[in-house]
């Protein structure tokens, strides 16, 4: 059978492809590489924190490590993770289109991303950057003597990749839907990618502008953030967080979309409160733009502004909570099966809830003053970004793996890795809540001896977590050659992407689909997903 993978084997057919599915896979390979780089930095950080003394690396190296970890993970893994990999692969299929609206822009987006990535990695190879991923001025412009310029230049370039991708998704979702596919029939994954794209398109240019100004100041030693001229470093923080807070929602909204897909599929029920969940994505995208000042409570921003930002930050929890309640209600009386993607999805709901609820604590002015810049903050956002987003990403990869590769992955190994990841993650990051509450500040390579037990627990958890990440690389790779050939719809799922072959042909559909029902037309007669007993690998072990 001819499909998008065996259409053409030449290298140029990949490097010059305009097929959204192939570009999705190119992104998948690339971000896996960046994840490894960011992960290695995290490994050394956790190793250093095993003991109170700074005995593995120097303080300077430690600063560079957490900066490298943050920069690569934020801009070169999390932001492109679900949108550019799963979004690219799935959006045209989910809406019944042959491709994205602008396939050449899509390819350009990958090249910009890679260029940005290489420039930033160059900064790391040349000796790294020590500013933290936030590049606060005036340290980043006047005092740091590390490779700020190439690191920022890479981020600047990758930003344009984000903009092109977001723009492409928005136009595609508006203009390319199959006949009969109204907004209220769209899969929720499409809604969340749409909401994410709004942020990509409207926030990223402000980052580009800010980074551009910072680069000018760094290179020419004169600029608008320079306190010597009366410039205000707080202006930098406003501009930076106008992008970087919504960017947090770039890193979680697509995960919510994946979770919505997985929970309905493995509960065999339509999603409870579809409309509310769909609109809550837009609400998160919009309200998410109004809360950035909660990163600046202790920065010298006016107390009044702090109060306004604090209030608005509480508001954003409402649409997030709507989603969690509706997922839970979907599970109620569902015919639940615990396949690997479902385990990741349930993990997502739990970990995201913890991350979100601790976010409420941080949004409260008085508590934030107490735990600002401590491990409490670190734990909070890792629960969202790693516990939430990475769980959802892996859940999505497993769920759509048969569609991408045409093979089934070994289910029991999948379940094992998902459970491992959940426990490893909690063991890594829960102790950090306690550490932060007790007052351990972030970004130091040494700490008082009384914090050691919790830090050792955290490092131990990180080891388990790492195993949870590495395992899928092996068994998914294994399945490419030895996995059972996947049928078109192994999960008996609804959704247009399951109506085409696995793997699909280059332009997705033999016959262009027409849509007559909503995305989640599950009934009590819908057969259950593929049984584990059918899994040859599970039987073999």
């Amino acid at each position: 059978m001819r499909n998008y993978l065996n259409e053409d084997y030449r290298l140029s057919s990949w490097l010059l492809t305009r097929d959204h599915k192939r570009i999705g896979l190119l992104f998948m390979l690339s971000i896996t590489g960046f994840f490894v780089i960011g992960g290695l930095a995290a490994t050394i950080i956790r190793l250093e924190l095993m003991t109170p003394a700074g005995d593995v690396v120097t303080a300077d190296t430690y600063n560079k490590l957490f900066t490298m970890h943050g920069v690569t993970m934020v801009w070169f893994f999390l932001i492109p993770s679900i949108p550019n990999v799963l979004g690219n692969f799935l959006i045209p299929m989910m809406i019944g289109a042959r491709d994205l609206a602008f396939p050449r822009l899509n390819l350009a987006s990958w090249y910009l991303f890679m260029l940005g990535g290489f420039v930033t990695v160059y900064a790391l190879i040349r000796g790294g950057v020590d500013t933290g991923w936030t590049f606060y001025t005036p340290f980043s412009t006047m005092f740091s003597n590390t490779h700020v310029v190439p690191a920022l230049l890479g981020v600047f370039i990758a930003g344009f990749s984000s903009i092109l991708t977001g723009l492409n998704f928005i136009i595609t979702i508006h203009k390319m839907r199959a006949p009969g596919l109204t907004w209220m029939r769209l899969p929720l994954f499409v809604w969340t990618i749409y909401a994410t794209s709004i942020i990509l398109v409207l926030a990223t240019p402000v980052l580009a502008c800010t980074v551009g100004l910072l680069l000018l100041e760094r290179i020419f030693h004169v600029g608008i953030f320079d306190p010597k001229l009366g410039g205000d470093p707080l202006l930098f923080q406003h501009l930076f967080w106008f992008y970087s807070h919504p960017a947090v929602y770039i890193m979680i909204l697509p995960g919510m979309g994946v979770t919505s897909e997985l929970i309905t599929c493995f509960s065999r029920k339509p999603l409870f409160g579809y409309r509310a969940v769909a609109y809550s994505s837009l609400a998160i995208a919009i309200i998410g733009f109004l809360v950035w000042g909660h990163h600046m409570f202790v920065s010298g921003q006016s107390v009044y502004a702090g109060m306004v930002f604090s209030f608005l930050s509480f508001l954003v929890s409402i649409p997030s909570a709507i989603k969690v309640f509706n997922w839970t209600a979907t599970l109620y009386k569902g015919r639940i099966t615990f396949h690997t993607p479902m385990l990741y999805a349930l993990g997502f709901v739990g970990l995201f809830s913890i991350g979100g609820l601790t976010g409420l604590l941080l949004a409260a002015l008085a508590i934030d003053v107490h735990v600002h810049d401590t491990y409490f903050v670190i734990a909070h956002f890792h629960y969202i970004m790693v516990g939430g987003m990475v769980s959802a990403y892996l859940g999505g990869i497993h769920f759509w793996w048969p569609k991408m590769s045409g093979r089934l992955y070994p289910e029991s190994w999948g379940r094992f890795a998902a459970v491992l990841l959940f426990f490893g993650f909690n063991l890594t990051f829960f102790p950090q809540f306690i550490l932060g509450y007790l007052g351990m500040p972030r970004r130091y390579h040494e700490y008082p001896p009384e914090f050691q037990v919790l830090n050792v627990m955290s490092s131990l958890g990180a080891t388990i977590l790492a195993a949870g990440y590495i395992l899928p690389l092996f068994y998914l790779g294994w399945s490419l050659k030895y996995g059972r050939v996947a049928p078109a719809n192994p999960w008996n799922a609804t959704g247009l992407e399951w109506q085409t072959a696995s793997p699909p042909i280059t332009h997705n559909f033999e016959v262009m689909p027409e849509v007559t029902a909503g995305a989640y037309a599950y009934t009590e007669h819908t057969p259950l997903p593929l049984e584990v007993a059918d899994d040859p690998f599970a039987r073999a072990v």
Binding site: H174, I198, L202, V206, L234, L235, H238, F242, F289, L290, W292, G293, G300, Q301, S302, V303, Y304, A305, V308, F309
Partner: protein
């Protein structure tokens, strides 16, 4: 349509003359000069966007896209100025 374009052009040139002229009129209130200059800029923008860019004859969706950019710019400016304008309001020194 061509006629509307020429008319718009002449109005734009008149507005340019007006805004430049007004700039030298000392109203005694600096804010008034600023308000006049910016109002004229807004009117000019509206003319270019509605007539030259044909938004007047475009779909509702286009209107939303046009509005979105300016709306989000408004968020950036408003919430940041909210900080600068309210420094020291609550008597805490910040």
């Amino acid at each position: 349509m061509t006629r509307a374009i020429w008319m718009t052009y002449f109005v734009l040139m008149i507005l340019l003359a007006m805004t430049t002229g007004f700039a030298y009129v000392d109203t005694g209130i600096a804010a008034l000069n600023t308000a006049i200059a910016l109002s004229i800029a807004v009117v000019k923008t509206l003319l270019v966007v509605l007539i030259f860019m044909e938004v007047k004859h475009s779909s509702k969706l286009t209107h939303i896209f046009v509005g979105a950019g300016f709306f989000w710019l408004g968020i950036l400016l408003t919430l940041t100025m909210n900080d600068y304008l309210s420094r020291g309001w609550l008597g805490t020194g910040q």
